[in-house]
């Protein structure tokens, strides 16, 4: 299925959870935050949130800025 992550289209297996996607990107355990279809999704809910076709994720972290 197709999922939009940070504005890019990515393919994932049916039934993948948000936690699976975060882990597959090598971001497990990193200080990142996730927005699922424009709502913040707590890290504790990532595993229990299955993705569906055309869902949108924003995965953000902190960078240098003023």
């Amino acid at each position: 299925m197709r999922v939009h992550i940070n504005g890019e289209d990515k393919q994932f297996d049916e039934g993948s959870s948000v936690a699976d996607v975060v882990a597959s990107l090598g971001l497990a355990g990193r200080r990142v935050a996730v927005e699922y279809n424009r709502e913040v999704l707590r890290a504790g809910d990532w595993a229990a949130t299955p993705l569906r076709e055309n869902d949108a994720l924003e995965i953000v972290h902190f960078v240098g800025g003023g």
Partner: protein, 261 residues
């Protein structure tokens, strides 16, 4: 002389000694960022929230170099042009485990980076209601600052001049009006160019100064970070010491008696 050369100030329930808040943008690398922050003596450090590069997610992270246990991390909403985007950004920042403190900026114009005052106020209302400690970047407008204070913002952060311009405090009279009316900390945010600009802000009675480009954009950022630390300390000490009155004519410093005959 007052015993405490460094007085502390309270911000959102915590006390700080350093009156210099610094950004982490525009440095050559994370090591230079870390060293500049150290030289500045800052205890509060701003960061931006951005998408992870998902094609290269393993890159080193800013917070591996700027320890959140040592510094208060202040996420900003730089680059947001709507209240909604700024609110989403703050929610994400909080979820990333940094805390409730946010630097709210809703930009209204890409050339001047002046804030959208109406959208900033709108976003501040929502964020305060959601329990954020909101520090809004705002124009040097006493009315806008008053509104933000009334909403429940923990400080007001009027600009000295456009972000990254280095022009110094362009309207000291407005800053004075803001100081006079405010019962929350007044932090001059943006537009400072060099150490004397920072000193002026503190001499006027501002609580603190927030800057990024003035340090990162100097030829020698580490030396400028040190200069800013001294400028802020000098300005604060001068404010507390109470300056002498200005006089139009000279008053001699040496005795006027017992001169040679």
């Amino acid at each position: 002389m007052q015993n405490d050369i460094f007085d502390v100030f309270e911000l959102a329930g915590r006390s700080y000694r350093s009156r210099l808040l610094v950004g982490t943008g525009k440095y050559a690398d994370f090591e230079q960022t870390r060293l500049a922050i150290e030289a500045s003596g800052a205890e509060i450090v701003t960061v931006a929230v951005r998408r992870v590069n998902i094609t290269d997610p393993g890159k080193p992270n800013l917070l591996d170099h700027v320890d959140p246990k040592r510094y208060t991390i202040l996420p900003n909403t730089a680059g947001c042009y709507t209240a909604d985007d700024a609110i989403r950004t703050c929610r994400l920042a909080r979820e990333a485990g940094i805390g409730n403190l946010v630097k709210l900026e809703v930009i209204g114009d890409e050339k001047t980076l002046f804030p959208d005052v109406a959208a900033t106020i709108e976003a501040a209302k929502v964020l305060v209601a959601e329990g954020f400690d909101v520090l809004p970047y705002i124009t040097d407008d006493p009315v806008a600052c008053k509104r933000l204070e009334d909403i429940g913002c923990k400080a007001v952060m009027p600009l000295a001049a456009p972000i990254g311009s280095g022009l110094g405090i362009r309207n000291p009279y407005n800053i004075r009006l803001i100081l006079e009316q405010s019962s929350v900390p007044v932090i001059v945010d943006a537009g400072v160019g060099t150490a004397s600009d920072a000193a002026v802000a503190l001499e006027m009675g501002c609580t603190a100064v927030l800057m990024n480009t003035a340090i990162a954009g100097a030829k020698d950022p580490l030396l400028m970070a040190h200069a800013m630390k001294l400028g802020v300390e000098a300005g604060r000490a001068a404010y507390r010491a109470g300056r002498m009155p200005r006089r139009l004519y000279a008053t001699a410093s040496s005795p006027l008696t017992d001169l040679l005959g």
